[in-house]
């Protein structure tokens, strides 16, 4: 059974998922271990747990071929869907059961295609699948926080090459997320404006870090990027919740994501990367710490190219050294054509 353990000094919860451990060289992997067969390819649907969501033509049966996007529970989940948290003290320390959801969004039936190589409709299907799963998992009263992320390449912690994202639903809000929400709230209290709106306004006004924009989204290199060629994608419309994005917004988001990834590929030669979708924690009708985030927090996407290993300084202190100014990266990416 996976478990959560709390670091008593920094208050950070860590998930222990010993069942995911394979051989020593696979320690720490977040992905399914690679097998000789591609379990995510069309025709191999029986090799995954039964699907929880799919986009396929009407009339075709579940767990068979013909799908465009498919969501399945992770066969080696970091968190388990069954059970209760049972938080308790263990001597000096705190633990609880590793309850949560851990799903895989298989982005295409094609073993060889990358997300950004799909047509806009294909990318939009993936974004729609994420929206649908988030909306569904939010209903589970045990879950407070949902996260979609995508690891591409070994430097980014991936071990499977078939295009996929992962979705995790957690019973706790991670400390770094809480701090981000607190910070956004403090800013709103002080200024009566959203910090996301202020950042967006500033970036559009100066333009020097903007890489791409369409009518729904702005892609830019953040002022204090941690990684060279780091990108942020902000929606123009205020909403804390990704699952409120409508069909048209998801098409525009697909356009922004595809453009961002294609340009990174051209600039850096298909770099390994992480993509992270930040959406607000689940708010319940009960009195809640985050009742104001409807105005002060905005869902957004981060893309972190992973060109080199992350060094001791960063893990020791949260302090990053970046060799590339975002203005230079943005200028380079701005002048690229998509294809």
């Amino acid at each position: 059974m996976p478990e959560f353990r709390k670091d008593p000094l920094v208050g950070r919860w860590v998930v222990f998922a010993p069942e995911r451990k394979q051989r020593p060289q696979e320690f720490g992997r977040l992905e399914l271990p690679s097998t000789t067969k591609d379990a995510f390819a069309e025709g191999n649907e029986r090799l995954t747990p039964p699907e929880v969501f799919a986009i396929r033509p009407a009339g075709l049966p579940a767990n068979g071929p013909g799908w465009r996007v498919r969501v399945v529970p992770n066969r080696y989940p970091a968190l388990r869907i069954e059970g209760t948290l049972d938080p308790e003290a263990v001597g000096f320390y705190d633990r609880m059961n590793g309850i949560g959801a851990h799903e895989v969004v298989i982005e295409t039936p094609d073993s060889k295609k990358a997300l950004e190589e799909l047509p806009i409709e294909g990318v939009a299907d993936v974004l729609t699948a994420c929206k649908s799963r988030i909306a569904d998992l939010m209903k589970d009263p045990r879950f407070r926080y949902l996260l979609v992320f995508k690891n591409v390449g070994p430097m980014a912690g991936a071990s499977l090459s078939h295009a996929h994202s992962q979705l995790i639903a957690m019973p706790v809000t991670p400390l770094a997320v809480k701090e981000k929400l607190d910070s956004a709230k403090n800013y709103y209290d002080l200024k009566e404006r959203s910090i996301f709106e202020d950042i967006l306004h500033n970036e559009l006004r100066t333009g020097e870090r903007v890489v791409y924009q369409n009518h729904g989204f702005v892609v830019f290199c953040p002022f204090a990027s941690r990684f060279p060629f780091e990108l942020a994608i902000f929606p123009r419309r205020q909403s804390p919740d990704y699952h409120t994005a409508d069909e048209h917004e998801l098409v525009l988001l697909a356009d922004a994501v595809k453009t961002a990834l294609l340009r990174l590929n051209r600039a850096l030669g298909k770099p390994d990367y992480n993509l992270i979708l930040h959406t607000a924690p689940v708010r319940r009708p009960r009195k809640n710490y985050w009742t104001t985030i409807d105005a002060d927090f905005r869902w957004h996407i981060e893309i972190l190219p992973r060109l080199t290993g992350v060094a001791g300084l960063e893990f020791g202190t949260g302090f990053f050294i970046n060799t590339t100014l975002p203005e230079e990266a943005a200028q380079f990416l701005r002048h690229m054509v998509n294809y």
Copy 2:
């Protein structure tokens, strides 16, 4: 000129060091770029900037052979020693000049030897060099925080194989360090005991996560380890400041570090790793936020084996998934012989 930029949302300072950028595949590296010649080897002293510290027999000239440990400024520093901070607003954002020190501790004249392969006296020399440099740099009134770290192997962000550590002196205390200090202070205020003492006491009482101990130090796998086989080394004697360790303590620390690294090597086959020395920020006589850390904070060492890439989840949320329970890792390491 390097510069600090502050992320307006999370309050994190990032250092931009564009002079360190080489080719695209070297983006983000923290180390000196590798050359055909080993600039750190004995006889190549002219290939580094002039040394700021060395341990060599009396009578031998500086910047020549015969040394055991040598400290030099980083040829491609992330921070520059000359100048003033000049903090200022840039439109919506905050920046200041990248003032600080960035030095390299060359741990041995031998190109092929790893730190843990040195005799105890050799490891103690390295620890003494770090102490001496910290004590010296602390005197510079511009510096608030000093950090020693060691990156070994590409997964850990290293690009040079010659055994070395790095020392960075910074004009700001990183956010994660501040939070750790705050947390330690809050604990002390609540309990009137140091959290470090409580952790140490708890680990020694249960013993299940202890890997090794001598009369000065305890090596253990932390309860909420982020990485498989992560290790912490706590001194038994209370002190917030590494540079207060005396000669005997440094010999005992050398024994603990050497033992920890040799056992990791045997258990995991010479894994890449980061080693981080956490010492308290510099306290000045002036009224200061951290005046109480003499009792509530304790210097310590973290060793983070880097078996796989760090994935999107961790950078997105600070939330880690670990496949190895520290009790299992400790049991494995405890029953190993050193050589």
